[in-house]
Amino acid sequence: MTMRGNGPLFVEPDCDAARQWFREKPKQMSDKVMSVQDAVRQFVSDDDYLASGGFGGDRIATALLHEIVRQQRQGLSFAGHTATHDFQLLCAGNDTGRGQLLKRVDIAYIVGLEARGLSPHARRVVESGQIELCEWTNYALALRFQAASMGVPFLPVRGFAGTDTFDHSAAARVTCPYTEQELTVVPALWPDVAVIHIHEADRFGNCRIFGTSVSDWHVARAAKKLIVSCERLISNDEIRRDPTSTTIPFYCVDAVCHVPHGSYPGNMPYEYYSDEEHLREWLTVEQDFDAYLEFIERLIFDSANFEEYLAQCGGAARMDTLRQQELDP
């Protein structure tokens, strides 16, 4: 039995270093509303470790991810936790003539878009061997964020032992001091920066998520820097009327970007359904590399901002249709 997986550990689980960071993080209730461009310019640096909220194609921070690609960040590490369209998007920064956006990836789920199929460009990028990889599972990565949000160096799990997934991970085996059972432990993961799309926030970054939270409760608390995009800006009084609904508190948040339809073409619960036609178009276009380069040039690099992207994808009329699909399935 391997005692420690052979995969690379991209972030040391140093909880005292993290405590120091969180001690110094600004915690004033200041106005954090800014543009997507400014938020990414200010809070996402080359070589950062990036985490992305939601579930791959559901409640994802598409506008922020587009901007990271557009500003051509280099050498990022990424938590491929339930990643589908978000990973597919970031791959637009690899092998497309603009350096190397992704350098290291902790994998639970990448390359695929669930039943929709595999992304040909993401496959090209990953199969070429240019990215350093470490294997995990969805729950293992969720627990790594949980350990970080708890401020402890690791957490135990009873899963994925005895597999190649374990051997290619940086998980370890320990014996329980109480029961002497064999357990797998996973190291805490503090992302340098996380991007999460949510339903409602006030100007200080008190956030509400409706529907499933996936792992965002922990991602938000584990991240050293956090940018949220929101469907709606609401008042601080409104937040105070119903504190039970606050999922992420202001002191975790560094920037608040107001981006209606910010999860498009992903689903946003109670707001709009996923645009399956557009997601299919991505997968089809990627089969032809030249067509793909033209496609991302038009949709991402030549678009000044996310609003221009939405306009190219059918604008308000399309958004209305997706809203109907969501509200009346």
């Binding site: 789920y109 995990w136 969805n138 009873r158 792992s215 689903n267």
Partner: protein, 250 residues
């Protein structure tokens, strides 16, 4: 496909808890709910619990997985419900499966750094396959999938045989339960933990199943014939569960 979905639906008893994905497993669970198991609790790994599914979800995280649901929670909550022993079944799939029910959804090829095909990886599969009591697999049956040796063990079945799960620290008494294929329903021998044919689909022979399987298969005795879908099952499957034939048309 209809026969596979109906056979899968019959294995889910009323009152059970099941974590499902999209596609055929979801169709099977919906069909079970509408026929023999009205109190089956459906759970989805992104956090959806007990929805009144209006349509088949496209993503296991989309809003249909908690439409008129009982709870919209987190992924950890779902996985931890499995880990503490409350979840009876899960459905998994993979590009390859071996005689002990181990599954590969990570890569095809012999070089991890330069795979012939990079697949998504575990996602929640290795967690669910470790932590739920019984794992069900619905899959087409051919020699590319039913292999002697996996290119990568993503999700533990019975690993290399009896006692291996327990030795690895996985919860005792859990593991693969049924493999429902396009040719047969297979289970696992109580002692050897190897896959064996339990029932053949109508018109299929043991030789045909063996020809499509790289590893040696045993047969249960008596060897049954898989029950044909009932008229009621087919009617509900075609009219209510999958009216657009997304799954059953495959």
């Amino acid at each position: 496909m209809e026969l596979m979905i109906c056979a899968a639906a019959r294995t889910l008893e009323d009152g059970a808890m099941v974590v499902v994905g999209t596609g055929a497993p979801c169709a099977a669970a919906m069909l079970a709910q509408k026929t023999t198991a009205p109190n089956l609790t459906l759970m989805f790994e992104a956090g959806g619990v007990g929805p009144r599914l209006p349509r088949m979800p496209i993503s296991v995280g989309d809003s249909r997985t908690f439409y008129e649901g009982l709870m919209a929670t987190s992924m950890s909550d779902i996985m931890e419900t499995c880990q503490r022993g409350m979840v009876d079944y899960t459905f998994l799939g993979g590009a390859q499966i071996d005689a002990c029910g181990n599954l590969n959804s990570t890569m095809i090829g012999d070089d991890y750094q330069r795979p012939r095909v990079r697949l998504p990886g575990s996602g929640g599969a290795s967690d669910l396959g470790s932590l739920c009591w019984r794992v069900l697999v619905i899959t087409p049956h051919d020699r590319r999938r039913f292999v002697k040796k996996l290119d990568f063990v993503t999700t533990p079945g019975y690993l290399d045989g009896p006692g291996a799960r327990e030795a690895a620290g996985l919860p005792p008494g859990s593991g693969p339960y049924k493999v429902i294929t396009s040719l047969a329903v297979l289970g696992f021998h109580e002692e050897t933990k190897r896959m064996q044919i339990e029932s053949l689909h109508p018109g299929i022979t043991v030789e045909q199943v063996q020809a499509e399987t790289e590893f040696e298969l045993e047969c249960c005795s008596p060897l049954e014939v898989t029950s044909e879908p009932t008229a009621e099952q087919l009617d509900i499957l075609r009219r209510e569960v999958d009216p657009h034939r997304y799954i059953i048309g495959r």
